[in-house]
C-alpha cells in the first residue's frame, strides 16, 4: 500500500501535537502528516496534495472556518475523492449538519480518543471513493 498522507488543519498547536501523537501509533506506521495552522494555509496544502488519504479540518478557526473551507472546495470541485473529516464540539450540532451538507465525509466530535480517529480512518481507507455526498 502506498504511504498514507494526512492533512491536519487546526489553529491550535496543542491539537497538532495530539494528532502527532496519534499518528505515531502503530496503526499509522509510515503515515505522513501535513500541518496547516489556519484555513487558508490548509486550503493551499489541500490543493497541492490530491493524494491525501484524509483531511482533519477544525470547524472553528479565525480567518477561514472549516465550513468556508468545505464550501469553497465544493464550489471549485477540488479533489472530491479526498475524504474531509470536520472536527467539531458537542455544542455545534447545527454546524455538523451544515458541514456534511457542504461535503464533509464525516465529523469527529471533540473530545475524541486515538481509537475514535483510528476507526474513522479505517473507514475512509476502505472506501477510497468519492463520498462527498454522504450524510
Amino acid at each position: 500500500m502506498a504511504a498514507r498522507t494526512f492533512l491536519v488543519v487546526d489553529d491550535s498547536r496543542l491539537h497538532h501535537q495530539m494528532y502527532h501523537l496519534i499518528f505515531a501509533r502503530p496503526a499509522f506506521e509510515g503515515a505522513m502528516l501535513l500541518h496547516a495552522y489556519n484555513g487558508r494555509e490548509g486550503y493551499a496544502l489541500f490543493t497541492a496534495h490530491p493524494e491525501l488519504t484524509a483531511v482533519f479540518l477544525d470547524l472553528n478557526m479565525p480567518g477561514m472556518t472549516g465550513l468556508e473551507f468545505l464550501e469553497r472546495r465544493r464550489a471549485e470541485r477540488l479533489h472530491p475523492q479526498v475524504p474531509v473529516i470536520l472536527v467539531t464540539t458537542e455544542s455545534t450540532p447545527d454546524d455538523e449538519a451544515r458541514g456534511l451538507a457542504a461535503g464533509a465525509w464525516a465529523y469527529l466530535r471533540k473530545p475524541f480518543t486515538p481509537e475514535h480517529l483510528e476507526s474513522l480512518v479505517a473507514g475512509a481507507d476502505g472506501r477510497g471513493v468519492p463520498v462527498s455526498h454522504r450524510k
Binding site: S12, R13, L14, H15, Q17, M18, L21, I22, N60, T89, S91, K110, P111, F112, T113, P114
Partner: protein, 569 residues
C-alpha cells in the same frame, strides 16, 4: 504531580495544554473584569463580551481532549453564564462578580494543571454556584449562601492538597499528596523561624556570654540550644519532603531527544540511569532547561549523521547516556554522547581570538575544554532551526551555578563528550560565614571557606595590578571586598577570608567576620542587575537583607572561571 492519568494518550502534552490554554483563560479573566466594571457603571460592552464565548469554548475543548473533565465543566458553565449575561441585562450587576470569580478559578487551575492536583471541592462549589445562578434565583438568601460558599471555597482551597490520600492494604494512610505550593509555604515559614532564631540568638548573646564567663550554664542557653536542635530536625524533615526522584525530569527527555534527532536526521537512543536519585524539587524544576541545552548540543553538534558514523566504524545509532548518582551531599548528573567530541584546536583558536586563552604555552586539554563555558566560545557554525536557541554553554554554566552547582566537560575527540553536573541536594538552607564589607553584610557558603585570617598588609604584594599573598606555601590572588562587590576599594581591611575553589584558592579582604549562620536562600529577581559575584539573598535575624556570594565568581576574570570549570572535572 499532575492532574492527568499517566496513561492518558495525551499525558505528554500537559505542558503544551497549559501553554496554549492559560493565556486564553487569562484573557477571559481580563474581559470579565472589564465587563464587571462597565456593568457596574450601567454601560453595555458588547465588544468585550462577544469573544468571551469563543475563548471559553476553546479552553473547554482543550480540557476535554486532555481528559480534564472538571475544567471542561467549569468552562462549560462559564460559557452558559456568559451567554445568560449577554441576553439578560437585568442580572448583569449580580452576575458580574460570579463571572469574574469563576474565570479566575479557571485561569488558576489551567495555569497549575501541570503541577498541582485539581481542587475537586472548590471546583464543584464554584460550578454549583454558577448553575444555581443560571437557574435564576439569586435572592438575598443566595447572597448569604454565596458568602458562605466563598468562605468554604477558601477553606477548601487551603485544604485541597489533602484530597488525594493513598490508603494501604491495612487501611492506614501511607501517602498523602501535597500541593507543592504548600511545601513552598512551609519552607518560607521555616525560613522565618530560622530568621527569628538568629535574631533571638544575637539578642541573647551578651547575656549568655556573661554567664559563660562565670562558668554557669543558664536556662536561656539550654532553651536556645533545644530550639536549635528542633529546628535542625525540622529542617531535615522538611528537606526530605521536597526531594523528588529525578526521573520526573528525565522521563520527558526520551521523546524530546527522539523528535530532535529525527528533525536533524540523526539516529539516537537515549539511555537513562539513576532515575530514582532524589533532588530538591526546586533544583529539578530548574535543571530542565540546562539539560535540554546539553542534549540539544549533543544531537546537533556532537553526533555525526548515520552515514558518517558507519564510515567511521561506529554503530549508525548513537547513544546519549543520561545518568544521575548521589555522592555524599551532591548529586552528579552526566550527559555522555558517543559523537565526534570537542575539537580542542578550534576552541583554543577562538579563545585566542577573544583574548581569553590560558597564558600557559601548552594548556592542558582540560583547561582548553573548560574554555567552552565562556561566553562567545560556542564553536557551532550554525544555530539549529529546531532548537532555536543559542545553545551557548555559558548559559548552561550560568544556570547551573545559580543553583549552587558546577558543570565540567571532558571529551575525547572522535569518541564523544561527557558533561558532568554537580548539584547540591537542596538549595533552601545554607551554612554561611557572614562577613562585612563597606558596612554591608554578605554571606559566604561555609563549604567554600578554607580559612579566615587577619590580613597582614605586608604579606600582600601587587603583581601586575593583582594582589597576591602566600598562604600555606602557595601564592594565591587576593581581591578587595569592596572592589569585588562593585564598591570602593579600601587600603587596609583587617581580615582575609580564603575561599576554596576548584583550581586555586583566593583571598577576599573584608572589614569584619561576623560568624557562622544558617541562612535561608531567597532567589533574586533575575531582571534586577547585580554584581556577578552575588548568587542569591537572605534575610538576617534583624530583618535586613544580605547578599549570598557565589565564591566561584569573586574577583572573577574569564580565564579564572575557565580554570575553575576545568578543575571541577
Amino acid at each position: 504531580m499532575t492532574t492527568l492519568q499517566p496513561d492518558h494518550p495525551f499525558a505528554a502534552l500537559l505542558a503544551e495544554f497549559v501553554a496554549e490554554s492559560a493565556p486564553l483563560a487569562e484573557a477571559v479573566v481580563e474581559r470579565a473584569l472589564s465587563l464587571e466594571r462597565s456593568w457596574n457603571r450601567g454601560e453595555e460592552d458588547e465588544e468585550t463580551h462577544a469573544p468571551l464565548k469563543g475563548l471559553l469554548h476553546t479552553v473547554k475543548g482543550n480540557s476535554a481532549m486532555m481528559g480534564l473533565a472538571p475544567l471542561q465543566s467549569l468552562a462549560h458553565t462559564l460559557e452558559d453564564l456568559a451567554l445568560l449575561l449577554s441576553r439578560e441585562p437585568g442580572v448583569r450587576v449580580a452576575g458580574g462578580p460570579l463571572l469574574v470569580r469563576g474565570a479566575s478559578l479557571l485561569a488558576d487551575l489551567v495555569r497549575g494543571a501541570a503541577t498541582s492536583p485539581l481542587p475537586a471541592e472548590a471546583l464543584r462549589i464554584q460550578i454549583e454556584e454558577i448553575r444555581a445562578f443560571l437557574e435564576g434565583n439569586p435572592g438575598a438568601q443566595e447572597e448569604l449562601r454565596t458568602e458562605r460558599r466563598q468562605a468554604d471555597q477558601r477553606q477548601s482551597d487551603r485544604r485541597h492538597s489533602r484530597q488525594t490520600v493513598e490508603i494501604s492494604s491495612d487501611g492506614a494512610v501511607s501517602t498523602i499528596r501535597v500541593d507543592s505550593a504548600r511545601l513552598d509555604q512551609l519552607l518560607d515559614s521555616f525560613g522565618e523561624a530560622m530568621i527569628a532564631h538568629a535574631g533571638l540568638r544575637d539578642a541573647l548573646r551578651p547575656i549568655i556570654g556573661r554567664r559563660r564567663a562565670g562558668g554557669e550554664a543558664t536556662q536561656v542557653e539550654h532553651a536556645l540550644l533545644g530550639l536549635e536542635r528542633t529546628l535542625k530536625r525540622l529542617e531535615g524533615a522538611l528537606m526530605e519532603t521536597r526531594l523528588l526522584p529525578i526521573s520526573t525530569l528525565f522521563s520527558r527527555f526520551t521523546r524530546q531527544v527522539r523528535e530532535l534527532a529525527r528533525g536533524e536526521s540523526r539516529e539516537v537512543r537515549l539511555e537513562v540511569a539513576g532515575g530514582d536519585t532524589r533532588l530538591d524539587k526546586t533544583i529539578i524544576d530548574r535543571l530542565g532547561e540546562p539539560l535540554v541545552h546539553l542534549l540539544t548540543n549533543a544531537i546537533i553538534h556532537g553526533i555525526e549523521p548515520p552515514e558518517e558514523r558507519t564510515r567511521l566504524g561506529k554503530p549508525a545509532e548513537a547513544v546519549i547516556a543520561l545518568r544521575a548518582v548521589q555522592r555524599s551531599d551532591r548529586v552528579l548528573i552526566t550527559v555522555t554522547d558517543d559523537g565526534r567530541g570537542l575539537d580542542p584546536e578550534r576552541i583554543l583558536v577562538k579563545a585566542r581570538a577573544l583574548g581569553v586563552a590560558p597564558t600557559a604555552e601548552r594548556p592542558s586539554r582540560a583547561e582548553i575544554f573548560a574554555l567552552a563555558f565562556l561566553p562567545g566560545l560556542s564553536t557551532a557554525e550554525r544555530v539549529s532551526s529546531l532548537s532555536g536557541r543559542g545553545v551557548g554553554l555559558d548559559v548552561v554554566a550560568g544556570s547551573i551555578r545559580a543553583l549552587g552547582g558546577q558543570v565540567a566537560v571532558t571529551s575525547e575527540p572522535g569518541r564523544g563528550t561527557t558533561f558532568t553536573l554537580r548539584m547540591p541536594l537542596t538549595v533552601a538552607v545554607l551554612r554561611a560565614l557572614l562577613v562585612q564589607v563597606n558596612g554591608e553584610r554578605y554571606a559566604l557558603p561555609l563549604a567554600d571557606v578554607a580559612e579566615t585570617l587577619r590580613a597582614d598588609d605586608r604579606a600582600i604584594h601587587q603583581v601586575a595590578r593583582q594582589g597576591m599573598m602566600t598562604w600555606r606555601g602557595q601564592v594565591i590572588p587576593v581581591v578587595d571586598g569592596g572592589e569585588a562587590l562593585g564598591g570602593d576599594p579600601v587600603a587596609d581591611r583587617p581580615y582575609c577570608v580564603v575561599i576554596r575553589s576548584a583550581s586555586r584558592h583566593r583571598g577576599l579582604l573584608v572589614d569584619a567576620v561576623l560568624g557562622h549562620y544558617e541562612v535561608v536562600v531567597k532567589a533574586l529577581d533575575p531582571t534586577l542587575g547585580r554584581p556577578p559575584a552575588v548568587a542569591a539573598a537572605t534575610i538576617l535575624g534583624d530583618g535586613r537583607v544580605a547578599c549570598i556570594l557565589d565564591p566561584g565568581r569573586i574577583g572573577e576574570r574569564p580565564a579564572d572561571a575557565a580554570k575553575d570549570a576545568a578543575g571541577a572535572a
